[in-house]
């Protein structure tokens, strides 16, 4: 029996700033994981990844990351992806500063 599909988001780093971005359902990029498009089947995920790879003038290295549905939007599953949503743990130098200010940071 095939393994059930784990939903995905498309993520990458922005070309100019290098920070973490996620593909939205509108085809643009957000810094907030909760605003990412949650892709719930393999075919859609593959298609959206191809779409992201065509945006090479905007981002670097797009890939599919496991995610799950949460109350405010998609949430990361793996700890690496959770760190990418907020920045390093030793300083509030990553996007956690902005997200906290916006009240958008997910509880971790």
């Amino acid at each position: 029996m095939p393994r059930p599909f784990t939903p995905k988001v498309v993520t990458a780093n922005a070309l100019l700033e290098g920070d973490v971005v996620y593909l939205t359902r509108f085809g643009d990029w957000t810094r907030n994981h909760a605003d990412a498009d949650l892709l719930e089947d393999q075919a859609t995920a593959d298609l959206r990844l191809l779409e992201a790879q065509a945006l090479a003038h905007e981002v670097v290295g797009p890939y599919l990351a496991d995610a799950r549905r949460g109350p405010k939007g998609p949430e990361p599953i793996h700890f690496r992806e959770a760190f990418r949503t907020r920045g390093p743990s030793n300083y509030a130098h990553g996007k956690q500063a902005t997200l906290q200010a916006d009240g958008k940071q997910e509880a971790q």
Partner: protein, 563 residues
Amino acid sequence: MYAYSRFDRDFLAERNTQFRAQVERRIGGSLTEDEFKPLRLMNGLYLQLHAYMLRVAIPYGTLNSAQMRQLAMIADRWDKGYGHFTTRQNIQYNWPALRDVPDMLDALAEVGMHAIQTSGNTIRNVTADHFAGAAQEEVADPRPVAELIRQWSTDHPEFQFLPRKFKVAVTGSAQDRAVTAAHDIGLRLVKRHGEIGATVLVGGGLGRTPMIGKVLAEFVALPDLLPYLEAVVAVYNLLGRRDNKYKARIKITVHETGIDEIRRLVEAEFGPRKAAFQGADMELLDRIIADFHAPDFVGGAGDFDALHAADPIFRSFVDTNAAAHKHPDYTILTVSLKAHGATPGDATSDQMRLLADLAETYGHDELRISHEQNVILPHLPKRHLRAVFDALGAAGLATANVGLASDIIACPGMDYCALATARSIPVAQEIALRFDALKLEHEVGPLKIKISGCINACGHHHVGHIGILGLDRAGVENYQITLGGDGGPDAVIGDRAGPGFAYDEVVDAIERLVRAYLAIRDSADETFLDTYRRVGAAPFKAALYPEAEVDRSASREDRADAA
């Protein structure tokens, strides 16, 4: 110190102009990322977890006050007001924007610095003993040789596409503070019949397959050294495996080919190489040696002895952080970048400027970065130590912990690094805070704890007395512990202790190890490493895994009952 020639300046200006155009072409869309990536890596620019990272070379860890001030300026203007000093004596900026990097490189060039070959499959920044030119027991200053290698290897047309990265370290002291045995090539300067030469080690390295370097040549005289090194790298360039990234380092080449066969091949290659050099390297070395003349030391220790006797806090700082200098009225002062709870190796721009000021005012304008991620004032008159201590204290830089449990090497780990499998920095922070709270580390004495956030071992965990390796075990951070490693002249790879620990268990595990050591050491003079070598791993494993010990006792009792 070496001063850039006009050739060096022109070369760097041209290279930076090229890179500026490459960045513009990437942003403009005429270069793909696949095309741009090798170009940016050749110029030290990585893309990490949260941002770009620019790795700047500090050749053999030596810099002057103007260079340090420029590093501070760059941190303020284009980064977030700090820099991270690394285990290869480099500095990394964690937050540059792509468009700003050409300006950062131009700013570096203004003070004779660059980021060339801090990445890629090339000969990387040459490292050296951070006490070079100052240590009491030194045979020769390793920096002229390191500078010669830097010039030879920079943009060397034959060695721009090696099978894998290639790291060289040089020491001029038998104490080997440069961890030469863990490098692709390690050079140990020695004197034989009055002549300076080098013992050449090859095939050392940490990472996925840790190996201690093997002696390729007991003595290579200085006039033969560069052609000999070129022969070694040329042999590796042909033999090194390009089919498997994990088997591409020279340590694997040496392991698979055998040191005797490598030596035969190198010696066959050496003759023609030597002839081609025609002595130009030695003329250059003579000029470089002249640049590294010792400062004009001024005698007199002032009231140092009285101050040292009078103030226990100052005394503790000096006794812990200062080392013997070749001039009796001087000291080598290591400034710890490991304040308890701070990120190992990080310095703010204000701290960098203070260190620059202190070097300029008191320390013959010299600074060093150690592979242990600290900053050194290598030529500090004892009469100025108190003033320096006071200034450092006001800037949070007077932590007296050099060589102790909280003087931890830690790679950036998963807080920054795209390759990492777990975090290193918070583990280091919490271990340091624990030992500070326990007030134990001075009682424990010399102890090297080293943490890597992945198998690539940038945190040198294999050669830590206690090594910690962060891994991803089924989606959870897990930390393996190794014991008994040593990066000194008789380098040893540590032994894996057993199953790993969860993130919230590892600090307790380290405390148990250290308490076990205190309980079983012969005397306060027996270090952690000496005790480990005397008693072996068993008592330390028992401390790490008390549940296993309980299980074993229970099973012994069961067997006794059954009998």
